[in-house]
Symmetry: C4
Subunit: 284 residues, 4 copies
Amino acid sequence: MRPNRNPHRYNQGQALSPWREALNQIIFGSETAAGRTFDLLLIVAILLSIGVVMLDSVAEIQQRYADALFRAEWAFTALFTLEYLLRLVCVRRPWLYIRSFFGIIDLLSILPAYLGLLLPGAGYMLTLRVLRLLRIFRILKLSEYLDEANVLAVALANSLRKITVFLYAVLTLVVVFGALMYVVEGPQAGFTSIPKAVYWAIVTITTVGYGDIAPKTALGQLIASAIMIMGYGIIAVPTGIYSAELINSRNNRGLDNRACRNCGAAGHDFDAAHCKYCGERIGD
Amino acid sequence: MRPNRNPHRYNQGQALSPWREALNQIIFGSETAAGRTFDLLLIVAILLSIGVVMLDSVAEIQQRYADALFRAEWAFTALFTLEYLLRLVCVRRPWLYIRSFFGIIDLLSILPAYLGLLLPGAGYMLTLRVLRLLRIFRILKLSEYLDEANVLAVALANSLRKITVFLYAVLTLVVVFGALMYVVEGPQAGFTSIPKAVYWAIVTITTVGYGDIAPKTALGQLIASAIMIMGYGIIAVPTGIYSAELINSRNNRGLDNRACRNCGAAGHDFDAAHCKYCGERIGD
Amino acid sequence: MRPNRNPHRYNQGQALSPWREALNQIIFGSETAAGRTFDLLLIVAILLSIGVVMLDSVAEIQQRYADALFRAEWAFTALFTLEYLLRLVCVRRPWLYIRSFFGIIDLLSILPAYLGLLLPGAGYMLTLRVLRLLRIFRILKLSEYLDEANVLAVALANSLRKITVFLYAVLTLVVVFGALMYVVEGPQAGFTSIPKAVYWAIVTITTVGYGDIAPKTALGQLIASAIMIMGYGIIAVPTGIYSAELINSRNNRGLDNRACRNCGAAGHDFDAAHCKYCGERIGD
Amino acid sequence: MRPNRNPHRYNQGQALSPWREALNQIIFGSETAAGRTFDLLLIVAILLSIGVVMLDSVAEIQQRYADALFRAEWAFTALFTLEYLLRLVCVRRPWLYIRSFFGIIDLLSILPAYLGLLLPGAGYMLTLRVLRLLRIFRILKLSEYLDEANVLAVALANSLRKITVFLYAVLTLVVVFGALMYVVEGPQAGFTSIPKAVYWAIVTITTVGYGDIAPKTALGQLIASAIMIMGYGIIAVPTGIYSAELINSRNNRGLDNRACRNCGAAGHDFDAAHCKYCGERIGD
């Protein structure tokens, strides 16, 4: 049995009664067969309920299958409500769980349906239910994908400062060039205000290029060309930052900081028992 | 004569009669001059037949050269049928070949033409013939490009888990932002349903940006800007993952192949003078 | 107290009177609590004033809140004028400051408002005020983001030559393909002149793709496909250049800082036991 | 005087008479002050003549300044003709020069103007003059940018096989998905033929996204989403290939293959005079 490697704070503390402990293992854990089955069923239920929310927003389908969708939605709501209550019952510190990130997400997954009963006009609030999708991250978190996600997240965290500097530079570029295009092109080409021109500059520098706003004058197209080539070039910056960070994190994992007592050499592999230069035994 | 490095399972087994062995060398092998000539001719025939399928779909050309295209198509079908039969004749385990990936592709290359005779309305099924293009991969597989494709594929396989995590995160982003835009923009800007809004979010986050659906309100454009900058930034993630993996696979190839005379362990660094496991001196 | 790591030349020289020295610490420095508070307030004021400039350009908002925006703008102008005068008072070499990059930006942040009084028709000149955004870089420069920005900038400077070669190649491609498309597509598809066709080629090769100009003929679409695949592929070039540079700069930082006792040479590898220049044993 | 590092074959051979040798140094060389001045003037003349070609294609400017443009064009043609003749006079092997890549480009720079006299209808042929832009590469070739361009080109050449495999995979994807979309969407959404659908698939997978053709049906948009996410992801492949190649070429430059005679260790720096492990002197 693999130990729970990322136990949430709300699941630490004194022992529970046996049946609640077993329920806890099933609902919060992923070490037992029952726990993994529960996780799998929950993922399926979440994805199906997201499908229902999506189909419900398509006018033709909604009109034709209104009843079936309504019933399916309430079935999922009942299911998730039951699950939420069971979580409250078997968690070690219920109050911490309710206020945790996933506790709030779990509540947001069921609350809109009930509020829709009380406030009939709150139809749009029902789209909050797509946040159910975030719940799957909890399950991924406890599974074998944890390490991979961690490597990605740590590399992202390490390069956060560089990326902040980069993003601020991009935002400055976008505002300055947007204001310039507002002056050069003016309202007749769609650049009706500086915020709109900045929106156009973001669409352009990120190489999205909708084409709903596009420069018409020769000077405007010249400036736009400069922004495009810039955007094309500076994509290299975040990519380079992140690649360097990932490669670095991999290299660091692969290097030991033990030094040989005999010759003082370092740079041994983690699995080395003897110094690779002089053959002396090296300890931990 | 270079040995066949990637022999398919359906081509292993007991010896064939001499003429079938020779045919096998020509059709399945690429070691002999005849085999390479056959491969080259087959590539040319495949590309030409794809050209015929494509031209056949262009209305003006189809009307003008209907006869020539029809005859060319049947010539290629006859050719590929003959080739398929020859493959069946000279392969060591015909049944395994028929059920193999390339066996099915080979059949799909000729079947639509014959079915088109029986079922006259099945015109669209004829486009299945473009799958002939996949047949070229078999030929590439046996050639000198094998190593290069292998390096790319191994790096892809190694980074598959990281890319799965990344893709799931992107899909969640796209659904949550799509639902948000559906609420903010509504049907008048083209966001007629959540699936459509999610489609728009994918078009935007991948920086494709058709412009058939585009936000009209100020709030919508602000959210869209956030998605674009995200999409621009997170392209760094798969690129970084794959770059790190490729660089790593290259470094691993650079590992020393010396084995220790005492304990037999390999995987030493190039600069190691002593076995890192047992301390025995290792030579060149 | 951390020393000012990047002192501008205009802030070096003889000592000032105590109160001007204190003011200098607040306005130009970021070592004291007062200095950091000043920086923070200045960033907030700059961002708010940029917000006012932006809102002022939106026609509906301008008509409705003309008075409030006018007053807010003059309040910010007065504030930045006061700040500019205080900078002049407490800087060590005022004349050098005025002619420095940030001195000019500071002046451009307040001048347009005053010139707008004298020249009523110069409305567009007011957009120069967005250059205030550049002022934040000075504050970032003195802060903890300096190192990160430096790494990015040094890597950019080191790869500048490679990127120049790359950019010239891209510009040649774009002109040659633009001229080709001008001949192939002609004015009816929007390729009315070579500069316009070159603009289209830039829009295409950078994968922006507005769609305001798009090839109509089969030959034009074939050439366009070639440009797109090129643009898709050659994005790898600046990314590769910059990634390699960043990884290299990181590796160099990882060099050992031990110096040889005999010859004084540095730059040894971590695993070096002897000086690579004179053979003397080097310790830790 | 720096030796001519990349002498063309057409400039090798027996000595010339003194004045032709001097002319050769100026026109083909870049080692003397006169040679560099000539290169600089030639670059300026080429860029100006490209400017004239471009302006000549803009209808309004052409009508207004027809005379000036005509005269400027003939002045540049005369200049480049003179230069071509001088190159023929002072090159060591004129015939090899004429048939070399740059010899043909030089001829194509002047020929269209003369042919335009004989064949009045050949107006479009005049756009061939933009090929003059390629002439600048010769000058860059001989200059200090040579090394940088070489590093980029060698890395590109080394990764050519991997990129061929990648490109073939992309082309297969694009044809298969294009044919699929032709069946799913049909002519009413703009997918009028398979070649057109393949063009759309290229526009989409490269994230250009003009939007002139876009899927209308739900199934089409689903398939399009898959292509977009693929295109977004596989951009990582060429980038990773090229980054790994560039980093590798840098590492290889930095590693020596000398082994120590005493302890046998390798991996020394190029500037090492002594083994870093045992201190033994190492030769070349």
